[in-house]
Amino acid sequence: MMEVTTEKLLVVKDLKVHFNTARGIVKALDGVNLEIGRAETYGLVGETGSGKSVTALSIMRLIRPPGKIMEGKISFEGKELLGKTEEEMRMIRGSRIAMIFQEPMTSLNPVYTVGGQIAEPLKIHKSLEKSEILSKAVDLLNLVRMPEPLRTMAQYPHELSGGMRQRAMIAMMLSCDPSLLIADEPTTALDVTIQAQILQLMRELQQKMNSSILLITHDLGIVAEMCHRLAIMYAGQVVESATVNELFEDPKHPYTVGLLRAIPKPHERVSRLEVIPGSVPDLIHAPQGCKFHPRCPHVMDVCRSKEPSYIKVSEEHYVACHLYND
């Protein structure tokens, strides 16, 4: 694995994003903290609705009404993103930070050829000759190991399979050498063999291009395979973050413990899978204190009234839980 430098590429601090709905204010993110180093693959794990995708879209500043970034800081390459104008953000999107989406079937424009679309970020961000753009696009398709790059250039998205489309998408997003690639469940919609190929490809490209990846997933297996460090999200907050080894060896937060227990183990015969009792809280009327307390097996009085703050377990390992208060 590649050496991770300590210099931070992306720092998200106390990020709060609210959605104003008819039912009330949905606190989709309620103080998210993340730190991603250069050339690092960082996993962001959580259930549906825990705020993973909202975090990603906030970093891109793509949250649209009724959603709004209420407060917090997002610093990227040492510069604060939240103060930037839309025009300045446009220059960053696709060129410094790129994003791969979950659904390769629908994330390419059906009316243009694949070649034309891969070239699009280059047209926006780089002033190149038309022939240079085209040859760069072919190079990119070669890079993502598209079987027949020249033929694919002239094909329309509906002529490609899901895995090929995701390759095309990755090629498009890598076209301007971004230093951060956000991958929002890039393999969820693909079948398992294709999933493995795409992950392998992403890992290789990351080493080749030396960029960081923020990998959003609910699959802890993928995280174990791909990431250096990860953060566990619950109800719009990061409840625990650590290196992959440490988190899998020594999970601290009761939610993380529950998640890891819920993974079926092929060598053990069990009649029922372990579950975490209860379900994800309603983010309009989130529980007081620690948001996990109604489902927590170790709940204490203090959990019902006071929000836990981050406790440093070891270098790189933080947990937000009252259990570990001295």
Binding site: M60, L62, R90, M91, I92, R93, G94, S95, A98, M99, F101, Q102, E103, T106, S107, L108, N109, P110, V111, Y112, E120, P121, I124, H125, M169, M172, M173
Partner: protein, 286 residues
Amino acid sequence: MAMALHRLRRNKAAILGLVIAIGYVFVAIFGPSLAPYSPYDMGLDRALESPSLAHPFGFDELGRDIFSRVIYGTRISFVISVVSVGIAMIIGVTLGTLSGYFGGAIDAVAMRAVDIMMAFPEILLALAIVSALRGGAQVIGTETAIAYLIIAVGLYSIPQFIRISRASVMSVKQNEYVEAARATGEGTTGLILQYILPNALAPLIVQATLRIGTAILTAAGLSFLGLGVQPPTPEWGSMTSYGRNYLRVAPYLATFPGLAIMLVVLGFNLFGDGLRDALDPRLRLE
């Protein structure tokens, strides 16, 4: 797209409509070379003469060859319908797209304006617009009359285009490829022109085809009521209107231009319906 073409080809009614529409456009363009006689040559000695081999539609009250007049009339109705629908489409799609994409105040204003326009029965609105444009003038030139018809028919077609493009844009902008394009740093103009409009176009093409039929009908209707093109210019609506006086002695005066209107409108409607079915198979009743 290939699927859509295939479905269209299998639809016999739509193909018939397409053939009629193509024939109509052909006649409109090459009319003067196709017409055997001048549409203006009068001869009172042959007035109201019945159809014959040489003059298949007969003569009108002033002895003009009706067949040639119907052919010449094609061009006028073609110009009016295509130009008015073109104008309506440009204005309507622009407003509808902005309204559907940005929403908010723009959308609210545009939609209320559309509601107001749609509250009028269509022909009444066109009638009011033409009357207002004409003012008190009794006699106006053919070009002016055509221009007025284009404005009237164009204006009253705008609301439909606003509604349809708005709805289409609202659904297209939810697509993930729009979000993905935004994530590559695409600007608003690029998003609308490259990602949203091309994908929102299908229902608009259908609407334009259907609208051409309606435009032909409305323009002819206004001329029939005496608010459009006046004789001696050969126009189907006014020919039908003047022929009406001779319905008992010489029914062919009103019948042939009337049939021409019916045939062309039917053609565009059949083709438009077929196109809609081909482009959106979910709507098909089978």
